[in-house]
Amino acid sequence: MSIESKIRAYIGENFLFGDAAQIGVDDSFLDKGIIDSTGILEIVMFLEEQFGIKVADSEMLPENLDSIGNISRFIEKKGASK
């Protein structure tokens, strides 16, 4: 499974009642109202576990985390710099 589809599956299962199809790759989580500050911490925990990365507080920014696409690029970048 690609990084993007793993993230999509997780978001779908945990935030969209299993219906991952309703969110586009570049849809903002904030705009869609599907996460809040607790949700973002859950996503970070999932990413750290699933991809073996460490997300610093200073990286918790919309450009890294606010859409499926942003997260995929962030994970790829983190993977590449390891």
């Binding site: 945990n14 935030f15 904030l30 599907i34 809040d36 500050s37 507080d57 200073s58 918790m60 919309p62």
Partner: protein, 530 residues
Amino acid sequence: MGAARGENATKVAVIVEGKPYTYGELLEQALRLSAALRARGVARGDRVAIYMDNTWPCIVSLYGTLLAGGVFVIVNPQTKSDKVEFILNDSGARLLLTDGHLSKEFLPALPRVRQPLGVIASGKVPAMERGKLPAMESGKSPAMDEAASPAGARIEAFDEVVRGTPPGRPTTEIIPNDLAALIYTSGSTGNPKGVMQTHGSMVFAAGSLIEYLRLGSEDRILCVLPLAFDYGLYQLLMTIQLGATLVLERSFTYPAQIFARMREHSVTVFPGVPTIYAMLISAHGREPLSFPSVTRVTNTAAALPDDFVTKLHEIFPNALIYKMYGLTECKRVCYLEPELADAKPGSVGRAIPGTEIYLLSPDGQPVPAGENGILYVRGPHVMVGYWNRPDLSDHMLKPGKLPGERVLCTQDFFRMDADGFLYFVGRSDDIIKTRGEKVSPAEVENALHGIPGVREAAIIGIPDPLLGEAIRAYVVVEPDSGLNDKQLRVACAAKLENFMVPKEFVFIAEMPKTATGKVSKKLLREQKTT
């Protein structure tokens, strides 16, 4: 309200996610929108629903509505379709000002609105699959797809409406006794009710807050709370009334972004709630934080745990820390002067300037110092009542000292010490107060009952150090439903604002009932604790 600050035209009024807007721009845009609202039939006292995120169009909408003589009905952007529909119908709004990205919720509500309703949306509205209307005549915004409400009304583009209307003159027919806002809050029957506040009450309340927080026009006030939450709304109202600057963010979801913004703009006032302070303190534990520019930190919604205060002094080394308590029906009740924090631990302080508070027993008798009583609030900040709900208004507003006067009965139990300082004891009804927002158990129970596979559900509030109260749901599910707590949480989130979604789900085989067949919340509570 004091939006018209011509003398300050070049000063920055708000910085919205990093982008500054001056008082001159605010006045100009608000006057354009007010003229556009007037042209669309908004007259003195008409309701205009504002269902928007913390954005620049939201601010323009608030002041544009007031300058047109209208009454703004501010709706939390987390509100879901059914409730949006209820509020539009209940308030009788003539116009809906909203954000395109909220179309998933507001479009389904439109066909069920009983009165003619105009819709103006900022940003992009996804085109409807059917009922698309021909292109707009002129000034078509490329950012906005054509969209039509299923009822056939055209959705106009916010930017285009504002740009395309010359600034009007502010209305002169409004007096301080006129309504300025309906702020919807949860009601015990499950439907929310609109708290009516006048221009006079809101200007008074903002002035009282400004006085005790010792704010001035040089302050830069951070707002990460929704403008639809009165605590957030008043950060804006105080800023504009003062001629200060508001640093507005959409939420506290991405703390690193907020921290950068606070440093960049040397924020001086940090209003928060315990959940935000918990995140701040946890981040501080991983990597020390310091915001020396902040001189005032305020807390409401739930009591600030004592160990938080020590940490907050590390994070905000130059700040006074205010503990406060209030309810939408009078904006705010009391505050504890920061200098008295050590002398009066656990207290939420005394009445805000210009107001009075006292305790009465359930049968209306004065209560001696140190004993529990129901809190009453007297002053110009008390609401006029609930919109179209005289029955509920009579429950909360009682005859005061003077003929015809009404005072607010908060339905909250407090005790007061000999110096007049208040200590919260508990609530007298089953409304849950979580994150500073009132939640009606019936509203959450209705949402749970609507989930296929849920047979019965009941909600109680349990004490929580961060939330004040947390929501616990007891559910009886159909044997073959296979529902788990995660699925219930997501299903609730599709219908309820986030703060109403239960934090805990307890699955039980059978709901304990009273002799008359009603769910016994008392037995539920005992069941969990034993």
